[in-house]
Symmetry: C2
Subunit: 287 residues, 2 copies
Amino acid sequence: MIEIPFPQNQENEPLERSVFFISDGTAITAEVLGHAVLSQFPITMTSYTLPFVTSKIRAEEIRNQINNLYQATNIRPLVFYSIISSEVKNIITSSDGFCLDIVQTLVAPLQQEIGLEPKPELHRTHGLSKKNLSQYDARIAAIDYALAHDDGISLRNLDQAQVIILGVSRCGKTPTSLYLAMQFGIQAANYPFTADDMDNLQLPADLKPFQHKLFGLTINPERLAAIREERRENSRYASLRQCRIELAEVEALFRKNKINYLNTTNYSVEEISAKIIDSMGLKRRMF
Amino acid sequence: MIEIPFPQNQENEPLERSVFFISDGTAITAEVLGHAVLSQFPITMTSYTLPFVTSKIRAEEIRNQINNLYQATNIRPLVFYSIISSEVKNIITSSDGFCLDIVQTLVAPLQQEIGLEPKPELHRTHGLSKKNLSQYDARIAAIDYALAHDDGISLRNLDQAQVIILGVSRCGKTPTSLYLAMQFGIQAANYPFTADDMDNLQLPADLKPFQHKLFGLTINPERLAAIREERRENSRYASLRQCRIELAEVEALFRKNKINYLNTTNYSVEEISAKIIDSMGLKRRMF
Protein backbone atom coordinates (compact mmCIF):
# COMPACT_ATOMS: atom_id res chain seq x y z
CA MET A 1 0.00 0.00 0.00
CA ILE A 2 1.05 3.53 -0.70
CA GLU A 3 0.99 6.14 2.02
CA ILE A 4 -0.81 9.22 0.91
CA PRO A 5 0.17 12.51 2.54
CA PHE A 6 -2.09 15.52 2.43
CA PRO A 7 -0.45 18.37 0.54
CA GLN A 8 -1.05 21.73 2.14
CA ASN A 9 -1.39 24.67 -0.12
CA GLN A 10 0.22 27.67 1.56
CA GLU A 11 0.44 31.15 0.17
CA ASN A 12 3.79 32.20 -1.27
CA GLU A 13 4.84 28.57 -1.32
CA PRO A 14 5.31 26.69 -4.55
CA LEU A 15 2.17 24.77 -5.43
CA GLU A 16 2.27 21.17 -4.35
CA ARG A 17 0.72 18.52 -6.55
CA SER A 18 0.46 14.78 -6.27
CA VAL A 19 1.66 13.05 -9.42
CA PHE A 20 1.11 9.46 -10.53
CA PHE A 21 3.25 7.70 -13.11
CA ILE A 22 1.29 4.62 -14.17
CA SER A 23 2.30 2.05 -16.78
CA ASP A 24 1.71 -1.53 -17.81
CA GLY A 25 5.51 -1.72 -18.23
CA THR A 26 8.42 -0.40 -16.18
CA ALA A 27 7.00 3.15 -16.01
CA ILE A 28 10.50 4.46 -16.71
CA THR A 29 9.40 6.42 -19.80
CA ALA A 30 6.39 7.85 -17.94
CA GLU A 31 8.66 8.95 -15.10
CA VAL A 32 11.36 10.49 -17.26
CA LEU A 33 8.96 12.33 -19.54
CA GLY A 34 6.63 13.34 -16.71
CA HIS A 35 9.52 14.87 -14.79
CA ALA A 36 10.69 16.71 -17.93
CA VAL A 37 7.22 18.15 -18.45
CA LEU A 38 6.63 19.06 -14.81
CA SER A 39 10.08 20.64 -14.40
CA GLN A 40 8.70 23.50 -16.50
CA PHE A 41 6.23 24.46 -13.78
CA PRO A 42 7.16 26.04 -10.44
CA ILE A 43 5.52 23.31 -8.39
CA THR A 44 6.74 20.74 -5.91
CA MET A 45 5.42 17.23 -6.21
CA THR A 46 4.80 14.09 -4.25
CA SER A 47 5.10 11.31 -6.77
CA TYR A 48 3.89 7.73 -6.96
CA THR A 49 5.30 5.42 -9.59
CA LEU A 50 3.14 2.39 -10.33
CA PRO A 51 4.63 -0.03 -12.87
CA PHE A 52 3.20 -3.27 -14.29
CA VAL A 53 -0.44 -2.20 -13.98
CA THR A 54 -1.97 -4.88 -16.18
CA SER A 55 -5.09 -6.04 -14.31
CA LYS A 56 -8.45 -4.40 -13.78
CA ILE A 57 -8.24 -5.11 -10.04
CA ARG A 58 -4.92 -3.29 -9.75
CA ALA A 59 -6.25 -0.39 -11.83
CA GLU A 60 -9.30 -0.12 -9.59
CA GLU A 61 -7.11 0.03 -6.48
CA ILE A 62 -5.15 2.85 -8.05
CA ARG A 63 -8.31 4.69 -9.12
CA ASN A 64 -9.47 4.53 -5.51
CA GLN A 65 -6.15 5.95 -4.32
CA ILE A 66 -6.40 8.81 -6.81
CA ASN A 67 -10.00 9.53 -5.88
CA ASN A 68 -9.33 9.39 -2.13
CA LEU A 69 -6.44 11.78 -2.54
CA TYR A 70 -8.61 14.18 -4.51
CA GLN A 71 -11.43 14.05 -1.99
CA ALA A 72 -9.07 14.63 0.92
CA THR A 73 -7.20 17.56 -0.63
CA ASN A 74 -9.56 19.01 -3.23
CA ILE A 75 -6.56 19.20 -5.60
CA ARG A 76 -6.67 17.00 -8.67
CA PRO A 77 -3.75 14.58 -8.80
CA LEU A 78 -1.83 14.64 -12.10
CA VAL A 79 -1.64 11.27 -13.83
CA PHE A 80 0.91 10.42 -16.53
CA TYR A 81 0.08 7.01 -17.91
CA SER A 82 0.92 4.56 -20.66
CA ILE A 83 -1.31 1.50 -20.79
CA ILE A 84 -2.23 -0.59 -23.83
CA SER A 85 -5.29 -2.53 -22.61
CA SER A 86 -8.27 -0.25 -23.10
CA GLU A 87 -10.14 -1.99 -20.24
CA VAL A 88 -7.35 -1.19 -17.79
CA LYS A 89 -6.75 2.26 -19.27
CA ASN A 90 -10.43 3.23 -19.00
CA ILE A 91 -10.41 2.53 -15.27
CA ILE A 92 -7.50 4.91 -14.76
CA THR A 93 -8.95 7.64 -16.99
CA SER A 94 -12.29 7.41 -15.16
CA SER A 95 -10.57 8.52 -11.96
CA ASP A 96 -10.72 12.06 -10.59
CA GLY A 97 -7.11 12.68 -11.66
CA PHE A 98 -6.01 14.88 -14.55
CA CYS A 99 -4.90 12.11 -16.91
CA LEU A 100 -2.37 12.44 -19.72
CA ASP A 101 -1.53 9.54 -22.03
CA ILE A 102 2.17 10.16 -22.64
CA VAL A 103 2.47 8.05 -25.78
CA GLN A 104 -1.01 8.47 -27.30
CA THR A 105 -0.84 12.26 -27.15
CA LEU A 106 1.96 12.03 -29.72
CA VAL A 107 0.50 9.09 -31.64
CA ALA A 108 -2.66 11.00 -32.63
CA PRO A 109 -0.97 13.75 -34.68
CA LEU A 110 1.42 11.21 -36.21
CA GLN A 111 -1.41 8.95 -37.32
CA GLN A 112 -2.65 11.55 -39.76
CA GLU A 113 0.83 12.25 -41.12
CA ILE A 114 1.76 8.58 -41.54
CA GLY A 115 -1.68 7.60 -42.84
CA LEU A 116 -1.71 4.26 -41.04
CA GLU A 117 -3.65 2.96 -38.07
CA PRO A 118 -1.53 2.60 -34.93
CA LYS A 119 -1.28 -0.90 -33.48
CA PRO A 120 -0.79 -0.42 -29.75
CA GLU A 121 -0.14 -4.11 -29.19
CA LEU A 122 3.27 -3.72 -30.82
CA HIS A 123 4.40 -1.42 -28.07
CA ARG A 124 6.66 -2.54 -25.27
CA THR A 125 9.38 -0.06 -24.45
CA HIS A 126 12.21 -1.52 -22.40
CA GLY A 127 10.88 -5.00 -23.17
CA LEU A 128 12.50 -8.16 -24.43
CA SER A 129 11.28 -10.05 -27.48
CA LYS A 130 12.58 -12.55 -30.02
CA LYS A 131 13.02 -9.61 -32.36
CA ASN A 132 15.47 -7.75 -30.16
CA LEU A 133 17.07 -10.65 -28.25
CA SER A 134 20.37 -10.66 -30.14
CA GLN A 135 20.59 -6.88 -29.70
CA TYR A 136 19.88 -7.34 -26.01
CA ASP A 137 22.63 -9.95 -25.74
CA ALA A 138 25.03 -7.51 -27.41
CA ARG A 139 24.11 -4.95 -24.77
CA ILE A 140 24.84 -7.40 -21.93
CA ALA A 141 28.12 -8.25 -23.67
CA ALA A 142 28.96 -4.53 -23.71
CA ILE A 143 28.36 -4.36 -19.93
CA ASP A 144 30.62 -7.39 -19.45
CA TYR A 145 33.23 -5.71 -21.63
CA ALA A 146 33.08 -2.46 -19.64
CA LEU A 147 33.53 -4.37 -16.36
CA ALA A 148 36.42 -6.46 -17.73
CA HIS A 149 38.13 -3.32 -19.05
CA ASP A 150 37.37 -0.97 -16.19
CA ASP A 151 40.16 1.07 -14.65
CA GLY A 152 42.85 -0.50 -16.84
CA ILE A 153 42.22 -3.97 -15.32
CA SER A 154 42.85 -5.57 -18.69
CA LEU A 155 44.58 -4.11 -21.71
CA ARG A 156 43.75 -7.20 -23.76
CA ASN A 157 41.13 -7.04 -26.51
CA LEU A 158 41.35 -3.27 -26.74
CA ASP A 159 40.85 -3.74 -30.47
CA GLN A 160 37.24 -4.60 -29.57
CA ALA A 161 36.72 -1.30 -27.74
CA GLN A 162 34.70 1.36 -29.56
CA VAL A 163 36.14 3.97 -27.22
CA ILE A 164 38.89 4.01 -24.57
CA ILE A 165 38.29 6.65 -21.90
CA LEU A 166 41.32 8.18 -20.18
CA GLY A 167 41.62 10.29 -17.05
CA VAL A 168 42.68 10.61 -13.43
CA SER A 169 41.00 8.71 -10.59
CA ARG A 170 37.38 9.85 -9.93
CA CYS A 171 36.85 12.02 -12.99
CA GLY A 172 33.90 9.91 -14.22
CA LYS A 173 35.47 7.15 -16.33
CA THR A 174 33.72 4.14 -14.78
CA PRO A 175 30.13 5.44 -14.64
CA THR A 176 30.51 6.76 -18.19
CA SER A 177 31.82 3.44 -19.52
CA LEU A 178 28.96 1.59 -17.84
CA TYR A 179 26.37 4.05 -19.08
CA LEU A 180 27.65 3.81 -22.66
CA ALA A 181 27.26 0.03 -22.41
CA MET A 182 23.93 0.02 -20.59
CA GLN A 183 22.09 2.68 -22.59
CA PHE A 184 23.73 2.43 -26.00
CA GLY A 185 25.38 -1.02 -26.20
CA ILE A 186 28.75 0.61 -26.82
CA GLN A 187 31.92 -1.30 -25.83
CA ALA A 188 33.95 1.13 -23.72
CA ALA A 189 37.24 0.49 -21.95
CA ASN A 190 38.80 2.94 -19.53
CA TYR A 191 42.31 3.60 -18.33
CA PRO A 192 43.40 5.58 -15.25
CA PHE A 193 46.42 7.82 -14.77
CA THR A 194 47.60 7.62 -11.16
CA ALA A 195 49.90 9.70 -8.98
CA ASP A 196 52.76 7.31 -9.77
CA ASP A 197 52.45 8.08 -13.48
CA MET A 198 52.89 11.82 -13.00
CA ASP A 199 56.66 12.10 -13.37
CA ASN A 200 57.21 12.36 -17.08
CA LEU A 201 53.67 11.35 -18.02
CA GLN A 202 53.52 9.52 -21.35
CA LEU A 203 50.80 7.80 -23.31
CA PRO A 204 51.22 4.09 -22.42
CA ALA A 205 52.63 1.98 -25.26
CA ASP A 206 49.63 -0.38 -25.02
CA LEU A 207 47.28 2.47 -25.93
CA LYS A 208 49.26 3.93 -28.83
CA PRO A 209 47.86 1.57 -31.50
CA PHE A 210 44.36 2.76 -30.53
CA GLN A 211 44.95 6.51 -30.61
CA HIS A 212 41.84 7.07 -32.78
CA LYS A 213 39.69 5.46 -30.06
CA LEU A 214 41.00 7.54 -27.15
CA PHE A 215 38.82 10.10 -25.39
CA GLY A 216 39.96 12.09 -22.36
CA LEU A 217 37.98 13.23 -19.33
CA THR A 218 39.05 16.03 -17.05
CA ILE A 219 37.38 17.90 -14.18
CA ASN A 220 37.90 21.05 -12.12
CA PRO A 221 40.45 20.48 -9.31
CA GLU A 222 38.07 21.77 -6.62
CA ARG A 223 35.31 19.35 -7.58
CA LEU A 224 37.81 16.47 -7.89
CA ALA A 225 39.24 17.22 -4.43
CA ALA A 226 35.71 17.22 -2.95
CA ILE A 227 34.88 13.87 -4.59
CA ARG A 228 38.17 12.31 -3.46
CA GLU A 229 37.74 13.70 0.06
CA GLU A 230 34.54 11.62 0.35
CA ARG A 231 36.63 8.58 -0.46
CA ARG A 232 39.83 9.17 1.51
CA GLU A 233 39.52 11.95 4.02
CA ASN A 234 42.53 14.22 4.60
CA SER A 235 44.68 12.18 2.22
CA ARG A 236 47.36 13.44 -0.15
CA TYR A 237 45.21 11.79 -2.84
CA ALA A 238 42.34 14.16 -2.03
CA SER A 239 44.41 17.31 -1.56
CA LEU A 240 43.71 20.20 -3.89
CA ARG A 241 47.43 20.44 -4.64
CA GLN A 242 47.62 16.82 -5.77
CA CYS A 243 44.43 17.14 -7.84
CA ARG A 244 45.83 20.24 -9.56
CA ILE A 245 49.12 18.51 -10.40
CA GLU A 246 47.46 15.40 -11.81
CA LEU A 247 44.93 17.32 -13.88
CA ALA A 248 47.52 19.70 -15.32
CA GLU A 249 49.74 16.78 -16.35
CA VAL A 250 46.93 14.78 -17.87
CA GLU A 251 45.45 17.72 -19.76
CA ALA A 252 48.90 18.47 -21.16
CA LEU A 253 49.14 14.85 -22.31
CA PHE A 254 45.71 15.08 -24.00
CA ARG A 255 46.78 18.21 -25.85
CA LYS A 256 50.21 16.89 -26.82
CA ASN A 257 48.68 13.69 -28.23
CA LYS A 258 45.73 15.48 -29.85
CA ILE A 259 43.22 13.48 -27.80
CA ASN A 260 39.72 14.99 -27.65
CA TYR A 261 38.73 15.66 -24.07
CA LEU A 262 35.86 16.98 -22.01
CA ASN A 263 35.64 18.71 -18.65
CA THR A 264 33.01 16.71 -16.76
CA THR A 265 32.53 19.11 -13.83
CA ASN A 266 29.09 20.32 -14.86
CA TYR A 267 27.89 17.29 -16.77
CA SER A 268 25.91 14.22 -15.81
CA VAL A 269 26.91 10.75 -16.94
CA GLU A 270 24.17 10.93 -19.61
CA GLU A 271 25.58 14.17 -20.96
CA ILE A 272 29.19 12.96 -20.90
CA SER A 273 28.15 9.78 -22.72
CA ALA A 274 26.13 11.64 -25.36
CA LYS A 275 29.02 14.05 -25.94
CA ILE A 276 31.51 11.19 -26.38
CA ILE A 277 29.19 9.46 -28.86
CA ASP A 278 28.78 12.71 -30.77
CA SER A 279 32.46 13.57 -30.75
CA MET A 280 33.63 10.07 -31.79
CA GLY A 281 30.84 9.54 -34.33
CA LEU A 282 29.71 6.33 -32.60
CA LYS A 283 26.44 4.63 -33.38
CA ARG A 284 23.74 4.92 -30.69
CA ARG A 285 21.84 1.68 -30.38
CA MET A 286 18.41 1.75 -28.83
CA PHE A 287 17.00 -0.61 -26.24
CA MET B 1 28.14 15.09 -41.66
CA ILE B 2 25.32 12.61 -41.80
CA GLU B 3 24.89 10.31 -44.76
CA ILE B 4 21.39 10.44 -46.08
CA PRO B 5 20.07 7.35 -47.84
CA PHE B 6 17.08 7.52 -50.14
CA PRO B 7 14.25 5.39 -48.80
CA GLN B 8 12.40 3.55 -51.51
CA ASN B 9 8.73 3.03 -51.07
CA GLN B 10 7.82 -0.40 -52.45
CA GLU B 11 4.41 -1.96 -52.49
CA ASN B 12 3.69 -4.61 -49.86
CA GLU B 13 6.74 -3.46 -47.96
CA PRO B 14 6.45 -1.70 -44.62
CA LEU B 15 6.60 2.04 -45.10
CA GLU B 16 10.03 3.48 -44.54
CA ARG B 17 10.37 6.87 -42.89
CA SER B 18 13.33 8.97 -41.94
CA VAL B 19 13.14 10.07 -38.33
CA PHE B 20 15.11 12.81 -36.57
CA PHE B 21 15.53 13.02 -32.80
CA ILE B 22 16.75 16.54 -32.07
CA SER B 23 17.48 18.06 -28.68
CA ASP B 24 19.47 20.78 -26.98
CA GLY B 25 20.38 18.11 -24.40
CA THR B 26 21.35 14.45 -24.67
CA ALA B 27 18.33 13.59 -26.89
CA ILE B 28 17.86 10.45 -24.79
CA THR B 29 14.27 11.33 -23.86
CA ALA B 30 13.44 12.22 -27.48
CA GLU B 31 14.86 8.89 -28.65
CA VAL B 32 13.14 6.75 -26.02
CA LEU B 33 9.77 8.43 -26.40
CA GLY B 34 10.00 8.67 -30.19
CA HIS B 35 10.72 4.95 -30.44
CA ALA B 36 7.79 4.18 -28.11
CA VAL B 37 5.46 6.27 -30.26
CA LEU B 38 6.72 4.95 -33.60
CA SER B 39 6.67 1.32 -32.44
CA GLN B 40 2.88 1.58 -32.70
CA PHE B 41 3.07 2.01 -36.47
CA PRO B 42 4.04 -0.72 -38.95
CA ILE B 43 6.91 1.29 -40.44
CA THR B 44 10.64 0.83 -40.64
CA MET B 45 12.81 3.83 -39.96
CA THR B 46 16.18 5.29 -40.65
CA SER B 47 16.94 7.42 -37.63
CA TYR B 48 19.25 10.34 -36.95
CA THR B 49 19.88 11.41 -33.36
CA LEU B 50 21.20 14.95 -33.02
CA PRO B 51 21.98 16.00 -29.44
CA PHE B 52 23.27 19.34 -28.11
CA VAL B 53 21.65 21.46 -30.82
CA THR B 54 22.01 24.84 -29.14
CA SER B 55 23.16 27.19 -31.92
CA LYS B 56 21.30 28.71 -34.84
CA ILE B 57 24.06 27.61 -37.21
CA ARG B 58 23.74 23.97 -36.14
CA ALA B 59 19.95 24.17 -36.40
CA GLU B 60 20.22 25.60 -39.92
CA GLU B 61 22.51 22.75 -40.98
CA ILE B 62 19.95 20.28 -39.69
CA ARG B 63 17.07 22.10 -41.37
CA ASN B 64 18.97 21.81 -44.66
CA GLN B 65 19.46 18.08 -44.11
CA ILE B 66 15.76 17.61 -43.42
CA ASN B 67 14.77 19.69 -46.45
CA ASN B 68 17.22 17.92 -48.77
CA LEU B 69 15.93 14.57 -47.63
CA TYR B 70 12.36 15.65 -48.29
CA GLN B 71 13.17 17.00 -51.73
CA ALA B 72 15.05 13.85 -52.69
CA THR B 73 12.39 11.40 -51.51
CA ASN B 74 9.13 13.34 -51.50
CA ILE B 75 8.42 11.78 -48.08
CA ARG B 76 8.31 14.11 -45.10
CA PRO B 77 10.88 13.21 -42.46
CA LEU B 78 9.44 12.86 -38.95
CA VAL B 79 11.07 15.12 -36.38
CA PHE B 80 10.83 14.57 -32.62
CA TYR B 81 12.41 17.52 -30.89
CA SER B 82 12.92 19.15 -27.51
CA ILE B 83 14.59 22.55 -27.64
CA ILE B 84 14.20 25.43 -25.22
CA SER B 85 15.58 28.39 -27.19
CA SER B 86 12.74 29.65 -29.38
CA GLU B 87 15.24 31.00 -31.96
CA VAL B 88 16.81 27.56 -32.40
CA LYS B 89 13.46 25.79 -32.19
CA ASN B 90 11.88 28.00 -34.86
CA ILE B 91 14.59 27.04 -37.34
CA ILE B 92 13.83 23.34 -36.85
CA THR B 93 10.06 23.79 -37.04
CA SER B 94 10.39 25.85 -40.24
CA SER B 95 11.87 22.80 -41.98
CA ASP B 96 9.89 20.54 -44.33
CA GLY B 97 9.79 17.81 -41.65
CA PHE B 98 6.70 16.82 -39.68
CA CYS B 99 7.77 18.26 -36.33
CA LEU B 100 6.54 17.14 -32.91
CA ASP B 101 7.64 18.86 -29.69
CA ILE B 102 7.80 15.90 -27.32
CA VAL B 103 7.67 17.92 -24.11
CA GLN B 104 5.54 20.89 -25.16
CA THR B 105 2.75 18.69 -26.51
CA LEU B 106 2.19 17.57 -22.93
CA VAL B 107 2.93 20.94 -21.32
CA ALA B 108 0.06 22.70 -23.11
CA PRO B 109 -2.81 20.65 -21.60
CA LEU B 110 -1.11 20.71 -18.19
CA GLN B 111 -0.77 24.48 -18.23
CA GLN B 112 -4.53 24.91 -18.09
CA GLU B 113 -4.92 22.34 -15.32
CA ILE B 114 -2.12 23.74 -13.16
CA GLY B 115 -3.02 27.35 -13.86
CA LEU B 116 0.58 28.53 -14.01
CA GLU B 117 2.80 29.68 -16.85
CA PRO B 118 5.46 27.14 -17.79
CA LYS B 119 9.07 28.30 -17.47
CA PRO B 120 10.99 26.35 -20.09
CA GLU B 121 14.33 27.62 -18.82
CA LEU B 122 13.98 25.38 -15.78
CA HIS B 123 14.10 22.31 -17.95
CA ARG B 124 17.22 20.17 -18.29
CA THR B 125 16.51 16.46 -18.18
CA HIS B 126 19.58 14.37 -17.52
CA GLY B 127 21.43 17.50 -16.48
CA LEU B 128 23.53 18.40 -13.49
CA SER B 129 22.92 21.43 -11.32
CA LYS B 130 23.69 22.68 -7.84
CA LYS B 131 20.18 21.65 -6.92
CA ASN B 132 20.65 17.97 -7.72
CA LEU B 133 24.40 17.61 -7.14
CA SER B 134 24.16 15.75 -3.83
CA GLN B 135 21.60 13.42 -5.36
CA TYR B 136 23.92 12.88 -8.31
CA ASP B 137 26.79 12.07 -5.95
CA ALA B 138 24.57 9.51 -4.20
CA ARG B 139 23.92 7.92 -7.57
CA ILE B 140 27.65 7.66 -8.33
CA ALA B 141 28.13 6.21 -4.83
CA ALA B 142 25.48 3.60 -5.64
CA ILE B 143 27.41 2.61 -8.79
CA ASP B 144 30.60 2.34 -6.72
CA TYR B 145 28.73 0.21 -4.21
CA ALA B 146 27.36 -2.13 -6.91
CA LEU B 147 30.87 -2.61 -8.32
CA ALA B 148 32.42 -3.22 -4.90
CA HIS B 149 29.69 -5.74 -4.04
CA ASP B 150 29.38 -7.44 -7.41
CA ASP B 151 29.45 -11.22 -7.60
CA GLY B 152 30.06 -11.67 -3.87
CA ILE B 153 33.44 -9.85 -4.11
CA SER B 154 32.84 -8.27 -0.74
CA LEU B 155 30.41 -9.30 1.98
CA ARG B 156 31.35 -6.28 4.06
CA ASN B 157 28.93 -3.38 4.45
CA LEU B 158 25.96 -5.49 3.41
CA ASP B 159 24.00 -3.52 5.99
CA GLN B 160 24.26 -0.62 3.52
CA ALA B 161 22.67 -2.64 0.71
CA GLN B 162 19.05 -1.86 -0.12
CA VAL B 163 18.79 -5.20 -1.90
CA ILE B 164 21.04 -8.27 -2.22
CA ILE B 165 20.42 -10.17 -5.44
CA LEU B 166 21.05 -13.93 -5.46
CA GLY B 167 21.34 -16.40 -8.31
CA VAL B 168 23.51 -18.68 -10.43
CA SER B 169 26.19 -17.38 -12.79
CA ARG B 170 24.76 -15.47 -15.82
CA CYS B 171 21.16 -15.13 -14.70
CA GLY B 172 21.28 -11.31 -14.77
CA LYS B 173 22.60 -10.29 -11.32
CA THR B 174 25.34 -7.89 -12.42
CA PRO B 175 23.48 -5.87 -15.10
CA THR B 176 20.49 -5.61 -12.77
CA SER B 177 22.60 -4.36 -9.84
CA LEU B 178 24.25 -1.77 -12.08
CA TYR B 179 20.95 -0.65 -13.58
CA LEU B 180 19.38 -0.23 -10.14
CA ALA B 181 22.32 1.99 -9.21
CA MET B 182 22.53 3.91 -12.48
CA GLN B 183 18.84 4.61 -13.06
CA PHE B 184 17.46 4.70 -9.53
CA GLY B 185 20.41 5.35 -7.19
CA ILE B 186 19.68 2.12 -5.34
CA GLN B 187 22.54 0.35 -3.51
CA ALA B 188 22.45 -3.25 -4.71
CA ALA B 189 24.84 -6.06 -3.84
CA ASN B 190 24.78 -9.43 -5.55
CA TYR B 191 25.91 -12.90 -4.57
CA PRO B 192 26.47 -15.89 -6.88
CA PHE B 193 25.82 -19.56 -6.26
CA THR B 194 28.40 -21.65 -8.12
CA ALA B 195 28.69 -25.31 -9.09
CA ASP B 196 30.79 -25.94 -5.97
CA ASP B 197 27.94 -24.78 -3.74
CA MET B 198 25.48 -27.28 -5.16
CA ASP B 199 26.02 -30.19 -2.77
CA ASN B 200 23.79 -29.43 0.15
CA LEU B 201 23.09 -25.83 -0.89
CA GLN B 202 22.49 -23.56 2.08
CA LEU B 203 21.97 -19.85 2.53
CA PRO B 204 25.44 -18.52 3.45
CA ALA B 205 25.76 -17.45 7.09
CA ASP B 206 26.91 -13.98 6.00
CA LEU B 207 23.59 -13.38 4.26
CA LYS B 208 21.29 -14.64 7.00
CA PRO B 209 21.15 -11.37 8.96
CA PHE B 210 19.91 -9.67 5.78
CA GLN B 211 17.15 -12.08 4.85
CA HIS B 212 14.65 -9.24 4.40
CA LYS B 213 16.91 -7.71 1.72
CA LEU B 214 17.36 -10.85 -0.35
CA PHE B 215 15.88 -11.17 -3.83
CA GLY B 216 16.44 -14.20 -6.08
CA LEU B 217 16.81 -14.38 -9.84
CA THR B 218 16.28 -17.51 -11.87
CA ILE B 219 16.10 -18.24 -15.60
CA ASN B 220 15.04 -21.05 -17.92
CA PRO B 221 17.78 -23.70 -18.24
CA GLU B 222 17.76 -23.55 -22.06
CA ARG B 223 18.32 -19.79 -22.14
CA LEU B 224 21.00 -20.05 -19.42
CA ALA B 225 22.84 -22.78 -21.35
CA ALA B 226 22.78 -20.61 -24.50
CA ILE B 227 24.17 -17.60 -22.60
CA ARG B 228 26.89 -19.69 -20.92
CA GLU B 229 27.78 -21.35 -24.22
CA GLU B 230 28.72 -17.90 -25.56
CA ARG B 231 31.09 -17.59 -22.67
CA ARG B 232 32.65 -21.06 -22.42
CA GLU B 233 31.91 -23.20 -25.43
CA ASN B 234 31.30 -26.92 -24.87
CA SER B 235 32.01 -26.65 -21.17
CA ARG B 236 30.35 -28.51 -18.32
CA TYR B 237 29.46 -25.02 -17.03
CA ALA B 238 27.39 -24.38 -20.17
CA SER B 239 25.80 -27.84 -20.41
CA LEU B 240 22.03 -28.00 -20.18
CA ARG B 241 22.37 -30.71 -17.52
CA GLN B 242 24.54 -28.51 -15.30
CA CYS B 243 22.24 -25.49 -15.79
CA ARG B 244 19.22 -27.61 -14.83
CA ILE B 245 20.91 -28.92 -11.66
CA GLU B 246 22.02 -25.47 -10.49
CA LEU B 247 18.68 -23.81 -11.18
CA ALA B 248 16.69 -26.57 -9.45
CA GLU B 249 18.90 -26.34 -6.36
CA VAL B 250 18.82 -22.57 -6.20
CA GLU B 251 15.05 -22.34 -6.75
CA ALA B 252 14.57 -24.88 -3.95
CA LEU B 253 16.73 -22.72 -1.70
CA PHE B 254 14.66 -19.62 -2.57
CA ARG B 255 11.45 -21.44 -1.72
CA LYS B 256 12.79 -23.01 1.47
CA ASN B 257 14.01 -19.64 2.74
CA LYS B 258 10.92 -17.76 1.53
CA ILE B 259 13.00 -15.50 -0.71
CA ASN B 260 11.02 -13.68 -3.41
CA TYR B 261 12.36 -14.56 -6.83
CA LEU B 262 11.82 -13.79 -10.48
CA ASN B 263 12.40 -15.77 -13.66
CA THR B 264 14.36 -13.35 -15.89
CA THR B 265 14.12 -15.31 -19.15
CA ASN B 266 11.70 -12.96 -20.86
CA TYR B 267 12.58 -9.73 -19.09
CA SER B 268 14.98 -6.92 -19.86
CA VAL B 269 17.24 -5.41 -17.21
CA GLU B 270 14.81 -2.47 -16.95
CA GLU B 271 11.90 -4.80 -16.28
CA ILE B 272 13.81 -6.94 -13.79
CA SER B 273 14.90 -3.80 -11.93
CA ALA B 274 11.41 -2.30 -11.87
CA LYS B 275 9.97 -5.60 -10.60
CA ILE B 276 12.55 -5.83 -7.81
CA ILE B 277 11.82 -2.24 -6.74
CA ASP B 278 8.11 -2.98 -6.76
CA SER B 279 8.42 -6.27 -4.91
CA MET B 280 10.79 -4.92 -2.23
CA GLY B 281 8.98 -1.60 -1.83
CA LEU B 282 12.17 0.36 -2.61
CA LYS B 283 12.17 4.06 -3.35
CA ARG B 284 12.82 5.02 -6.98
CA ARG B 285 14.97 8.09 -7.19
CA MET B 286 14.94 10.12 -10.36
CA PHE B 287 17.90 11.54 -12.24
